[in-house]
Amino acid sequence: MNDYDLFVTDVLIIGAGLAGERAAIEAASQGLNVTILSLVPPRRSHSAAAQGGMQAALGNAAMGQGDSPDVHFADTVKGSDWGCDQEVARMFVDMAPVAVREAAFWGVPWTRVTMDKRIYDGQEIHEDPKKVGLITARNFGGTAKWRTCYTADGTGHALLYTTDSMVLKLGVTVHDRVEALSLIHDGDRCYGAVARCLRTGNLRAYSARTTVIATGGYGRLYGVSTNAVINEGTGMAIALETGKVPLGNMEAVQFHPTGLVPSGILITEGARGDGGYLLDKNGYRFMPDYEPKKKELASRDVVSRRMIQHMRAGYGVDSPYGPHLWLDIRHLGAKHIETNLREITSICRKFNGIDPVHELIPVRPTQHYSMGGVRVNKHGYVYGMKNLFALGEAACWDLHGFNRLGGNSLAETIVSGKIIGEKIAEFTKDALLDVRSSLIDQHVHDQAERIEKLRAKKSGTADVFRLRHEMEEILREHVFVFRTEAALAEAVEQLHALHVRAGDLRLRGSGLGADPELSAALRLPGMVKLAYCIAKGALARTESRGSHFREDYPKRDDENWLKRTLAYWSYEKNEPVLDYEPVVITELPPGDRGYGEATSGPVQKK
């Protein structure tokens, strides 16, 4: 068995989004040989789609005056519904301002403070003349201060292009159109990954002293998601499939309040941050009734629930694609909409034929972010497997607990990239390659066999695309914003059956070379396993916390559930098994989140 190319590197990073690239820069700057694998050219990564901005307590904008990492810390912990690791949150908030300034130093054209006259919510904002030219901030949900740094409407794009320019400058090796299929490991330590070239379909092995998972989220497990189509949770799946690595808090799934109907394309929180309203079928602004203090800018889980609750009460707008609500930004004025919210304008025009300067935008809660992921310690080191790190959305570092604040994900990518990247470099300097070629052979052979079996089409009955839609449907139907025992039990049962069938796929086409159907078939079993972990974790958690809302257990239960779910894949039981660990509370004991009735269940309004 030697029909594959072998690459050797110090650090292998799977995923070339912002988290992976930022960590690569840190390791490469310290003289290590770094190779990044990416499904797509790095600049096409989903990081580019983050429009709104990143949180960092610079306190330059007038509405951000008095801000500090301490205030950012409190917002993050409350946002997480006390599910986050407070030691991690502290490291993060302290480093975020440095990371923003460093990105500015590398070339990000952050939007700056100006003396332009500006009215917000009926009041004029007076900027400090001494701050003109410094990095400004906009308002985002769940924050006490205006803290979200941005570049017009393309923060993720600008940040990714700049970060990638540093990767280019440092001469880091990037292999694009390559997909990792499995981790090379002996049950104790990771030695790299088996990958498939998406140009030719050929298998490759990458052997590394340290391997890093930075593959982003699993949004596409849900049929309707704001995520890019490549966000299929690959990195989490290959970690889970070692049988040794746990995934943390997989039941913590964020639904963004304003996904465009029907495509699910994201309408950034910046729209509400800049003063947009949510309206019902009568044109009535309903959020102040539910959340008098934060209104449209309560945290995302709260706003999403209120929206669905309001639609259930019969106030949704009927459409061929089901009920939705309206987002109204018309009162912000053409000039503001055309510059600071240009991306929204162009999305509405292109995809819905709507002009948001004059018309309402149809929106509803849509899958957006995975708080859960490969469980790591505060240094990014993966539980249960040596020489393996993970960061970004793929990881459960646990900055976000059960609900991530808007602007904290983009911030997490570069802040954790900086912090964990340094740990990776430090670790790798003392790590050995130390791999047996027979181990590599065996892992490549396992993947080659899967591919051969699919190509031979001697067995198998299940259609790849159909099975996938079934999985999407189960999650949408039973594991969405509102959850109950009966529905989740149903989901677990159905996903188990689906998991069994996913082992019995049959291709329609030849599966030769870089065939897309074969790629989908190789990916699907891992995706179903992730969906299974989500449903099982949600069923077990008999409380409501952040985005995980159980109608039958509407209150947060700190006595029994102030703990993190760890889902392992058990090959003996052929299903996920759950374990738990305590949540680290260092500074802020559990309390009220301070925006509405988030912990006390839905208002009974029939």
Partner: protein, 246 residues
């Protein structure tokens, strides 16, 4: 009202079967409200031919993956609504870039090469000070830089460029715009002579013959015409300075 039956005439090429020459294949499907080419191509793959190759990532005109020739004109497939298309639509891969199969082309490798050749990163000898406040910048300048930074490297300007089609080493409007982005950025300390070496050649800004299809074809509205003019003017002046210095 009965929906239209749409015909898509798609270029097929599979590197695994070199004996089969590239050819056009017709697919049919019924139009639905709000249908885009993203929906069309995925449905064709799922329902009619699972081997059909094409590239999408964000499906929201942000990532630049899905540039192709739609009835001969370069554009992003994801934002093309079928209601704007005739009954028969031809889909071809973007020219200039290496063809990987059907509608999938290797734009990533092409753009990476151009970024390396133009050294598209901030050049400075300064070292980042984590304790210092950021250097101030006028917001108007930040906006100008962002206007050039907005290019999504989809390759529509390259596929539609006559010069790029006959001259593989030409960096095209996207490459020149990328240079403009750094030229206007005070954080990049390169001198005009250094830029001259990077971009003032027949492969760079002086290779452009001014047909300006790039400006017409840009799907995100980067002002390529003015960016080309800006770099050309800067480089003409630099050339004049260098000539006088000799």
């Amino acid at each position: 009202m009965a929906s239209r039956e749409l015909t898509f005439r798609i270029l097929r090429y599979n590197p695994e079967t070199p004996d089969v020459k590239p050819h056009l294949q017709d697919f049919h499907l019924n139009e639905e409200p709000g249908m885009t080419l993203f929906i069309v191509l995925n449905r064709l793959r799922e329902e009619q031919d699972p081997s059909l190759r094409f590239d999408f990532v964000c499906r929201a005109s942000i990532c630049g993956s899905c540039g192709m020739l739609i009835n001969g004109k370069p554009n992003l497939a994801c934002k093309t609504l079928t209601k704007a298309l005739p009954d028969v639509t031809t889909l071809m891969p973007l020219p200039v870039f290496k063809l990987l199969g059907d509608l999938s082309v290797d734009t990533g490798v092409w753009f990476r090469d151009v970024s390396l050749r133009t050294e598209s990163w901030v050049h400075t000898d300064e070292v980042f000070d984590p304790d210092a406040a950021e250097e101030k910048m006028d917001n108007e300048l930040a906006k100008e830089i962002y206007e050039a930074e907005r290019c999504i490297e989809c390759g529509c300007c390259i596929g539609g460029c006559a010069t790029a089609n006959i001259k593989p080493s030409f960096i095209g409007a996207a490459g020149i715009n990328r240079v403009a982005r750094f030229m206007m950025d005070p954080r990049d300390k390169r001198t005009e002579q250094e830029y001259f070496e990077v971009v003032a050649s027949e492969d760079g800004v002086f290779g452009c013959v001014g047909l300006m299809a790039c400006d017409d074809n840009c799907p995100v509205g980067v002002p390529l015409r003015s960016q080309l003019a800006y770099v050309r003017r800067k480089m003409a002046v630099a050339g004049w300075h260098m000539g006088r210095g000799r």
